[in-house]
Symmetry: C2
Subunit: 307 residues, 2 copies
């Protein structure tokens, strides 16, 4: 039986608890805030209800709140750390985790902003530390990026990959540290150009979103961009590059950079969503989004993807 320790039981930690418990794993969860831990059972029940998961009671019963971090770590195969994204706090926490966890326990951080060497350098157990970056919320979006530091062992990476796969996620292994990992590097490149086109008035915010959700995003929900280009020329990838490499390269060379992430662009985006003007409205729409993610995940899992 695989045992998982959740360290940090906020929004992301709770969703991770659902991922592992849903797959039949034993989960012990701890949070530095007693109120967060006290709310855990109710929050997990709500998440399972909203996602329409069968056997919700049995799944919820596999998640045990732990009163100390050490108790949560006891017997864990993998620690999923989802604490605050501050380098000083993350360094302290990983030092504590490394001191307290059994030597074979994998220490994985959900960090989206910090590469693993920043918080594991110099630890005795640095070889068992990595980043396992999810998309929020992981119980509705399966990808998890696995990023090693220069000293993370390949055995750690292999074991982590197997655990996430057993949990029903889609682990993607990076060969080395890189800021933003893969997902946010891709997102940043597209967002910069999107914000620029909106800022320059080429297209409205709504038109930009329509171009993606009724166009570009359709294929990317079930094929990646690499298979997309293979299928976009009669002779495959080499043929694509011959036909479209030069014009696409010209567009990429002309794409926007950091300057596109401006307050003026943010104001234009905000103005296009007048109904999402305060945190409660945003939370309600996030719940709608999560319902759509769950429905889309169900749809995609019922299709044969041919691979």
């Amino acid at each position: 039986m695989t045992r998982i320790a959740i360290v940090g039981a906020g929004l992301i930690g709770r969703s991770w608890a659902v991922v592992f418990a849903r797959a039949g794993m034993d989960v012990a969860a701890w949070d530095a805030e007693a109120t967060v831990l006290a709310a855990l059972e109710g929050e997990i029940a709500a998440m399972l209800r909203e996602a329409g998961t069968p056997d919700a009671d049995a799944i919820a019963a596999r998640v045990t709140p732990a009163t100390t971090m050490e108790a949560a770590l006891d017997g864990a195969d993998l620690v999923q750390e989802s604490g605050p994204e501050r380098i000083d706090l993350k360094r302290d926490l990983f030092a504590r985790l490394d001191a307290a966890a059994a030597p074979e326990t994998i220490l994985a951080s959900s960090s989206s902003a910090l590469v693993p060497s920043l918080f594991s350098d110099g630890l005795a157990g640095a070889a068992r530390c990595l980043v396992a970056h999810p998309v929020n919320p992981p119980h509705l979006v399966p990808v998890v990026e696995l990023c090693p530091s220069p000293v993370t062992s390949s055995e750690t990476m292999d074991r982590a990959e197997a655990i996430y796969r057993d949990a029903g996620q889609v682990p993607v292994r990076l060969s080395r540290e890189i800021d933003g990992f893969v997902l946010n590097r891709l997102q940043a490149a597209l967002l910069a150009e999107a914000l620029r086109l909106v800022s320059e008035g080429v297209v409205s915010v709504e038109g930009l979103d329509d171009t993606v959700r009724h166009g570009l995003g359709r294929r990317w929900a079930f094929m990646g961009p690499m298979e997309t280009i293979v299928l976009n020329a009669p002779g495959g990838a080499a043929d694509y590059m011959l036909r479209y490499g030069p014009p696409m390269g010209k567009l990429a060379a002309d794409a926007a950079g950091a300057e596109a992430f401006s307050d003026a662009a943010a104001a234009l985006v905000a103005a296009a969503f007048p109904a999402l003007a305060d945190p409660p409205a945003i939370r309600a729409r996030q719940a709608w989004r999560d319902g759509e993610l769950a429905a889309l995940d169900t749809h995609l899992r019922t299709r044969s993807t041919g691979d």
Copy 2:
């Protein structure tokens, strides 16, 4: 009754014929190649069958092959031109269309590579010319980018937008000409970074595709990237920019450009899809893709999108 003329009845023209006929419009189709026109009826029946469209016979009956271009144009509200992407051919064809079509007929090109001034400058009817760029195939992906030349009239844009909307598509209006329009500018920015990450060995081709299809692409299938960022911070777009603008800007500034579209990158991509090594295998996989696009479109249309 809206009447549409399809000029160029290859892959894209045929799919356009299905779009308009499916919406109850009368469609006359012409192609310079007699063999293409002779195959039209069978190809349209096959497309409708593969897409699982009800009333296939009635829809197919609304598409009439025309023996001359002039006959196809007779009484047309809009011409959807889908000829070869060569500037000399496109200029000649638009001169012929402008001479032959009634003055109120809209002349729209499916071009993905040419902005409309390149083939409409100097024509008497330049004000009624635009690009209406679809994603292939338009009967399965609803977005259509409407790009005016500097002299296209706003009345032309209004009427074109209404016709595409009536046909069940999602028209996106650009305010002015720009190379690549919106969709391919966004795609090129993401593709460049994707090809770079694969070329540098940060991630495998399969891992890159998994990151998008099991992560980033999930939201973009039903929300655009703009609404995505509004929902990615508790306080909306301004809050997002405050929290994530600087790090995302740094990633965008570091993103790849034209150099990523290399033959070496194409070879890596091709090697990752050994089963797609020849045109027949690619055609079979395109048919699978189209089936998935149809299923996804059906799924998304049955959901309440909340707007």
